[in-house]
């Protein structure tokens, strides 16, 4: 199985490489340069800035330098935040975003699976319809509507939780953003679990488990849960993608200093290197998730493991 994992890893590197290259050349192909937004600067100063940022060299050299920098973890300087390099910004923002995203992801699974199982066990009864109705709402209503609504209710109306702002280590600051972020993946996971659980509960091996007089809890936890989780495992990469997307909004609204907010700021300011750096980091994260999921699949279904 180690060999399988390494081959998949090797396949992921070219994908990342392609993303970096495409992004790089797209930027260079864009009309205008990074300094166009500023008021017209005297040509000598423009030339100086060009030289300082290495923009006066031939494009291949710029590409090479960029790749070289990447290999050292150097994403280049930010064009707007003059005092910081992109690497530093990523370094500051990544932990915040990872914390937010990880909690949201874990919560989505830890709550979504039991909710879906519950709905499956109460199939076609009120509890089932109610939970699934909520799940549809969770999927359809976007996070940038949910978060302000939650803020309005819990922050302004009830004064229970802060609406925005972030202090390192503060739990209360994270409650609303995490709630808004986890809603979509949680609802999807609940739906997937319910559907698959209904199928699994009809299987012959579950009938055998019932005939053996095992208590319901044992049947669900030991016999039914693992096969029912397979679609959830497949959903993990899209889940991470939607959490990443959601973090852009959630961080911006809640004022959390994560890479999502930097990405949005970078986009608004047309800060090329910053945005590029973010794209690369997000893509890398997603690819890593894909690999993890493959491993998870092999664990869930031993038939897969032995075939490889």
């Amino acid at each position: 199985m180690l060999r399988y994992f390494l081959t998949r890893l090797a396949g992921a590197v070219p994908t990342l490489f392609i993303i970096v290259t495409v992004a790089f050349f797209l930027i260079r192909a864009a009309p205008g340069g990074p300094f166009d937004q500023e008021q017209a600067l005297p040509p000598e100063i423009m030339a100086n800035m060009q030289r300082a940022y290495g923009l006066d060299r031939p494009i291949w050299i710029q590409y090479g330098r960029y790749l070289g920098g990447l290999a050292h973890g150097d994403f280049g300087p930010s064009f707007k935040y003059k005092d910081f390099s992109v690497t530093e910004l990523i370094g500051q923002g990544l932990p915040v975003t990872l914390e937010l995203g990880a909690i949201a992801m874990v919560l989505a699974m830890v709550l979504g699976v039991p909710i879906g199982t519950f709905a499956a066990l109460h199939h076609n009864r009120a509890a089932d319809y109610a939970t699934m109705a909520l799940a549809v709402a969770g999927i359809a209503v976007p996070s940038f509507v949910v978060l302000p609504f939650l803020g309005l209710l819990f922050g302004i109306h009830l004064h229970w939780l802060p609406v925005a702002g972030w202090e390192p280590g503060s739990v209360r600051d994270l409650v609303l953003p995490v709630a808004a972020l986890t809603l979509l993946p949680l609802s999807v996971i609940a739906r997937l679990t319910r559907a698959e659980m209904l199928e699994v509960l009809r299987s012959h091996f579950i009938r055998t488990a019932v005939a053996k007089g095992l208590p319901l809890r044992t049947i669900i936890m030991r016999h039914a849960l693992r096969p029912a989780l397979l679609p959830v495992a497949s959903y993990l990469p899209p889940a991470v993608a939607s959490i990443m997307t959601g973090s852009l909004i959630v961080e911006s609204i809640a004022g959390l200093p994560g890479i999502g907010r930097y990405m949005v700021q970078g986009a608004l300011n047309r800060d090329y290197t910053l945005v590029m750096g973010m794209v690369i980091v997000y893509s890398a994260l997603l690819i890593a998730m894909g690999l993890l999921v493959d491993l998870l699949y092999a664990w869930l279904d031993p038939r897969v493991r032995l075939v490889r």
């Binding site: 797209l26 549809v136 976007p142 940038f144 509507v145 302000p148 803020g151 990469p237 609204i253 894909g290």
Partner: protein, 281 residues
């Protein structure tokens, strides 16, 4: 064929949730199209006497006003119109691209199909919002670019569905007959393949539209989509979020409209899928 339609219609009608959703959608669309005429205020009129005022029936500002005194009822409905327009146009683009891609890939089969599907697999894995944002960074905040890039993102699922359908249709005899009678590839695709895949197309189109509206609202919310003075529900919600404390109706009205619209479209799409008994190719 008509009995299939009857069956589907019967199933659809009996599912009250879906029918409810359909009425909501029609309601919102009707309101968006004709609503503004019901109200004396214009979308751009600045009413200095009623700045950021609460919803009230007497002064014709049924949903209140915003910071500049613009009537929220009219403004929200205009925003809904914009969101719907973007949704429909971009969906149409996605649909065309997706159908063409899927039909060609499914029909040609073999290595070409394999490669084309690999491309979709790779693209599906990446969070394409980032690329759309990336494009706005590069090419500036151009509204036509917005349409195009959103459309470019939404075609993947449609392509996959159409390809699946095409593959199964391809085996059928009337295709062989068409080939035997000397029809060219393009003709076969257009005349024979596409009409048979209409069912799933309708379903996924209904599910694509809310995705696209969501995407456009997302970008507009962040300030990367529709720009001032135009407004879509996304921008209105962003404004409203900023004024949450002082004037909550500025958030609740457009937020409520968007939530209702997306929810109804999703339920409708799910219901259609059940009624037409469509499965993913």
């Amino acid at each position: 064929m008509s009995s299939l339609v009857d069956d589907a219609a019967r199933r659809l009608w009996s599912n009250s949730g879906t029918m409810c959703a359909m009425f909501v959608v029609f309601g919102i669309v009707a309101l968006a199209l004709f609503g503004p005429w019901l109200n004396p205020n214009g979308a751009e009129t600045l009413d200095w006497l009623h700045v950021a005022s609460k919803p009230a029936l007497q002064n014709a500002h049924w949903f209140g006003t915003d910071r500049l005194g613009r009537d929220l009822f009219v403004r929200t409905l205009e925003g809904t119109r914009v969101s719907l327009a973007v949704g429909l146009v971009a969906s149409a683009v996605s649909l065309l691209v997706g159908i063409a891609y899927g039909a060609v890939s499914g029909y040609l089969g073999g290595r070409t199909d394999h490669l084309m599907m690999r491309l979709i697999e790779i693209l599906s894995g990446l969070p394409l919002i980032f690329f759309v944002i990336f494009l706005t960074v590069i090419f500036g905040r151009n509204e036509y670019l917005l349409f195009l890039s959103i459309g470019a993102v939404g075609w993947l699922t449609m392509a996959r569905i159409v390809r699946g359908q095409t593959l199964s249709v391809r085996q059928k005899e009337f295709i062989e007959a068409a080939v035997a009678s000397g029809a060219g590839t393009a003709r076969i695709i257009v005349r024979h393949v596409i009409p048979n895949v209409v069912g799933p197309i309708v379903v996924y189109a209904t599910l694509t539209i809310p995705q696209i509206i969501m995407l456009e609202s997302f970008l507009s919310f962040l300030g990367l989509g529709i720009q001032e003075p135009g407004a879509s529900l996304g921008t209105l919600i962003a404004e409203g979020a900023g004024e949450m404390e002082a004037a909550p109706w500025m958030l609740l009205v457009p937020g409520g409209f968007l939530a209702a619209l997306l929810l109804a479209l999703n339920v409708l799409g799910d219901g259609l899928r059940d009624a037409l008994d469509v499965k993913e190719g």
